[in-house]
């Protein structure tokens, strides 16, 4: 079962043997001697003043150790955010609550059953107030979520934010003039990009063990960002981040929801410190709708002005974006990320206004794609509507407006530089593979028989691989957590004295297969078999300083760091091997678990022999430092810009409105690929989450702010029967910004897919007069749209 492979090979994952046998260790699987469990008392009101908290009955319950309120933890400060625009969340409600489910008190008990019993015995008196849930109402500011503070935190308009940082031309030249011309068409749609609950199958879990004798703490957390959590915990308790060991063991899915510092992470540390025992908390699925972040939640209008020949003369997007009640890690930056790619693959004038508005609902933040799926949705839906209005094929309209290969590097309307892109080649690869003309004929033939078949197309461009160190100066760093590091990548490659290899990285997987992909990179460089390479991650003390896993950044940034570290180890090993073999370092070749001399294949040394020498400096060339490891920090000169084209074929049942997704094709371009199997898996999962938004999922609140979809009964994740097989292909346009030429693939599938589905469904019913249906396209909604159009 050797898994040795060069890069680009399909390799079974190193992480799987433990996971398929139930031996993987997630946070809730860890047991500490003497541990206690906790539960939270949560507000039933979306807006209220707390008049009293009576914990006496809870404290009287046998097995209860403590009930904490804000009075116990106010001294620890507010829950920190990296982009701290807006109201930060108190660790527990401080006199007022601003969304249903906000934590008011924390109960610690012998076990989770008693803790929950006790939580039910904490009596809280509330004076309910007016809640504002509807986004337009919130934007109107008639009811304020936080008294005296405008609900609109800020408006991203695409260029003012950059003033003084980037010298920008007018991003919207001529749009108004184009609208007034007689020969142009203006197409406009108001659309909702609904709120979603990210729903990793592993709920969040934390376990803290405060070491009173050392004034340090160990915290296990199901987190994408252990270093940031360590910084935040250190800040809260006034100790250095070097006293906080945050460990993210197996993480059962992240998707952005675990890209946050949460109050519970700080509170279990506090309880452990006070009680002198380990304290855990594990989120229930229902709690996940309150205690973890949600995603999306925009209502907006996109408008295209263009010629009847398909040339787009202006794209405008004006949207209200739901922040929820409190600001977390990236909350207000999510729409900005959307803005980064809001003009997609097109060379078009743009005008944007994204209003970041608070409501009496739980916080929103990064959910797979984080602003970019929303932006792609608004753009690609209106491009389709424009194509339909002027009677052109949607593929042709897209091609007429793409950036051309010879224009790269391209400066986008808001001043960012896209290094590479080859959009028409990518779209043509998709269209040729699927037989686009035949598909259209098939659709038209079915329609002639009264069946409602629809084809939906979408292009997308993603910005990821964060990122350039200079962005730290614009607020994109962990400074909010006391860690003034930019979005660097880091990797340590060490050849052990026995010739095996340890790779330690500043990022970590939540399912993405880092242990395998990194082992491939290092095995390819050193010729050490993959079975002899162990990849370690997710420990804020033992891992190199790193930023974590999000924004499809790990391979482009941290992967490059490990690649460079591998090269440096190899350079030193060549000198040592040359010394041992009495050959020049440049004549040393690495393969098959060791080194040999070019032209003399019998003159070999194993990695164990090289390493043995490396750790005994007296055997090394004179003056060479002992050891055989390298630590590299990599800061890319730019983000990366993956792109792709997606196509779906659907059939709508005219009697029920049910959408049957018949086929789904995608041609993505993430640059070079290290493990095609893992890359395809990322695309599969990404597409599934985009389809889930298009057809199934929606976080629904009533006008009192109650979440009506807090369980999986009401929030329907797609099951196996709801999805088809996915047909994937790639074009390969390597990026210039890292030596691996890799761009990132974690979010691309999601960014490309929701509008592909909606475009297909609208295509199926457009001849009946339907112009748009808001997601999720559940049967009733589709049926109603058809009925409304007919009548």
């Amino acid at each position: 079962m050797s898994t040795t492979s060069v890069m680009g090979g399909i390799v079974r994952r190193k992480e799987d043997p433990s996971l398929i046998q139930g031996k993987g260790v997630y946070v809730d699987d860890i047991r500490r001697h003497g541990e206690l469990a906790s539960a939270f008392v949560r507000s039933p009101f979306a807006a209220a003043t707390i008049t009293s908290v009576d914990a006496s009955a809870a404290l009287a319950l046998p097995g209860v150790h403590a009930v904490y309120t804000i009075d116990d933890v106010r001294h620890l400060g507010l829950n920190p955010a990296q982009v701290a625009v807006g109201t930060l969340r108190p660790l527990l409600a401080d006199g007022t609550v601003h969304h249903v489910g906000q934590a008011v008190a924390m109960v610690v008990a012998d076990d989770r059953y008693i803790a929950q019993d006790a939580a039910d015995l904490v009596y809280v008196d509330y004076e309910p107030g007016d809640a504002v849930v509807d986004l337009k109402d919130a934007y109107a500011d008639t009811v304020q979520v936080h008294d005296g503070v405008s609900n609109t935190l800020l408006t991203w308009n695409g260029h003012a934010w950059w003033e003084g940082v980037i010298d920008l031309p007018d991003p919207s030249p001529g749009i108004q003039e184009a609208k007034e011309r007689d020969d142009t068409v203006v197409v406009s749609l108001e659309m909702v990009n609904q709120r979603l609950i990210p729903t990793a199958i592993e709920p969040r879990a934390v376990l803290a063990d405060w070491k009173s004798g050392y004034d340090s703490v160990e915290l296990w957390s199901s987190s994408q960002i252990p270093h940031a959590v360590a910084g935040a915990v250190g800040l809260a308790f006034g100790i250095g981040s070097n006293k906080v060991r945050v460990v993210a063991p197996e993480v059962g899915g992240g998707f952005g929801l675990k890209l946050n510092v949460y109050p519970d992470e700080i509170l279990v540390c506090f309880a452990s410190k006070v009680l002198g025992r380990p304290v855990r908390w594990t989120e229930t699925r229902r709690e996940a709708g309150f205690a973890s972040i949600q995603g999306r939640g925009w209502i907006g209008t996109s408008t295209i002005t263009g010629t009847r020949e398909g040339k787009i003369l202006g794209y405008e997007l004006d949207a209200i974006c739901d922040m929820g009640a409190y600001t977390h890690n990236f909350t207000v930056a999510i729409p900005l990320l959307g803005l980064f790619v809001a003009s997609g693959q097109y060379d078009i004038p743009t005008s944007y206004a994204l209003h970041c508005v608070v409501t009496n609902t739980p916080t929103t933040d990064a959910y797979r794609g984080a602003g970019r799926p929303e932006a792609a949705y608004y753009l690609e839906r209106i491009v389709d509507a424009f194509a339909r209005e002027i009677g052109m094929d949607p593929a042709d309209v897209r091609k007429a407006n793409y950036w051309k290969p010879d224009q790269f590097p391209v400066t986008t309307p808001i001043g960012l530089t896209m290094d590479t892109g080859n959009y028409e080649v990518n779209l043509d690869a998709l269209l040729e593979r699927v037989g686009y003309e035949d598909l259209k004929a098939k659709r038209d033939a079915a329609r002639a028989e009264g069946r409602l078949l629809g084809l939906g197309l979408s292009s997308y461009v993603e910005v990821c691989g964060f990122g350039p160190s200079a962005l730290a100066g614009l607020g994109f760093s962990w400074a909010g957590y006391g860690l003034p590091a930019a979005f660097n990548g880091s990797g340590v490659v060490r050849v052990q004295p026995d010739g095996t290899c340890t790779v330690t990285i500043g990022t970590g997987p939540s399912g993405q297969g880092h242990e395998t992909t990194w082992a491939q990179i290092v095995s390819d460089g050193l010729g050490i078999p993959m079975d002899n390479i162990e990849v370690h991650h997710g420990d804020s003390i033992d891992s190199p300083m790193g930023i974590g896993t999000f924004g499809s950044r790990s391979i482009a940034v941290d992967g490059t760091a490990s690649f460079e570290a591998t090269n440096r180890v190899k350079e030193k090993a060549a000198i040592i091997a040359g010394h041992l073999l009495e050959a020049a370092p440049e004549d040393v070749q690495f393969a098959d678990g060791g080194a040999s001399v070019a032209g003399s294949p019998d003159r070999t040394v194993s990695w164990a022999q090289i390493a043995e020498s490396a750790y005994q400096p007296h055997t090394l060339p004179e003056g060479m430092e002992g050891g055989l490891e390298s630590s590299v920090v990599f800061s890319p000169p730019n983000a990366t810009w993956p792109f792709g084209s997606h196509l779906a074929l659907v059939e709508v049942d005219p009697e029920t409105g049910d959408v049957d997704l018949l086929d789904y094709w995608a041609t993505d371009d993430c640059g070079n690929v290290i493990n095609p199997m893992i890359v395809d898996g990322q695309v599969h999962g990404g597409i599934a989450q985009g389809i889930a938004q298009a057809l199934f999922e929606e976080a629904i609140y009533d006008d009192m702010g109650n979440l009506l979809t807090a369980s999986l009964v009401d929030y329907p994740l797609p099951a196996a029967e709801n999805l088809p097989m996915f047909s994937l292909d790639r074009t390969v346009t390597p990026t210039d910004v890292n030596p691996l030429g890799v761009k990132g693939i974690g979010e691309a599938g999601t960014i490309g897919s929701a509008q592909t589905i909606v475009n297909a469904v609208v295509d199926a019913v457009s001849h009946l007069g339907v112009k748009h249906i808001d997601m999720p396209l559940r049967p009733k909604r589709v049926w109603q749209a058809i009925e409304d159009a007919r009548n």
Binding site: M1, G9, I10, V11, R12, R13, E15, D16, P17, L19, I20, Q21, G22, K23, G24, V25, Y26, D28, D29, R31, Y113, T199, A200, I201, E202, P203, E250, V251, G252, G253, G254, T282, T284, R285, R286, P509, S510, G511, Q512, M677, I678, D680, G681, H684, G685, G686, I687, A688, Q689, S711, L712, V713, L717, A719, A720, E721, L723, M725, F726, L728
Partner: protein, 166 residues
């Protein structure tokens, strides 16, 4: 209450609180943490185990209800170092990413293949409809189960070891 349960062929038991969920008994009393809790309402299937030959979501069963029964969990699936064909299928076909739903998914797949070792794509999808996966979009899970079925029929399916993926 006193209970006696066979778990992976070993007799276990003792005094448990009547309200203890089977999944918590397995995880907390027996240390069998391969059975996961994902939703509390029986929808996600991460806690799926096999009770007397039938799949059960162990978050919806009390430990006392399992008294006198025989339970198989993910930890009992492999025989020594030899993986079950379904485990091998998931490894060979990249049927898992984060791995959290995987134990339950494997248990449901085993039950499916025990009844029908040559399922169509639609039959696989129907057979695992009670198990939710957020990572894979099910594409490679379907392939994994069909790989396992082929293996159980004595065929020689192709997977990542042969350089074959989706």
């Amino acid at each position: 209450m006193e209970i006696s349960i066979s778990v992976n062929g070993t007799q276990t038991g003792g005094d448990v609180a009547p309200r203890t969920l089977l999944v918590h008994y397995l995880r907390d009393n027996l240390g069998l943490t391969g059975t996961h809790v994902g939703c509390d309402t029986g929808y996600c299937g991460a806690c799926t185990v096999i009770v007397d030959g039938r799949t059960v979501k162990s978050c919806t069963m009390l430990a006392v209800q399992a008294d006198g029964r025989s339970i198989e969990t993910i930890e009992g699936v492999a025989v020594g170092d030899e993986l079950h064909p379904v485990q091998e299928g998931f490894w060979e076909c990249h049927g898992l990413q984060c791995g959290f739903c995987t134990p339950g998914m494997i248990m449901s797949s085993i039950a499916l293949l025990d009844n029908n070792n040559d399922p169509s794509e639609a039959e696989v999808r129907h057979g695992i409809e009670g198990n939710l996966c957020r990572c894979t979009g099910y594409h490679n899970i379907v392939r994994s189960v069909q790989y396992a079925g082929a293996k159980m029929r004595g065929e020689d399916p192709q997977g990542a070891s042969q350089g074959v993926s989706s």
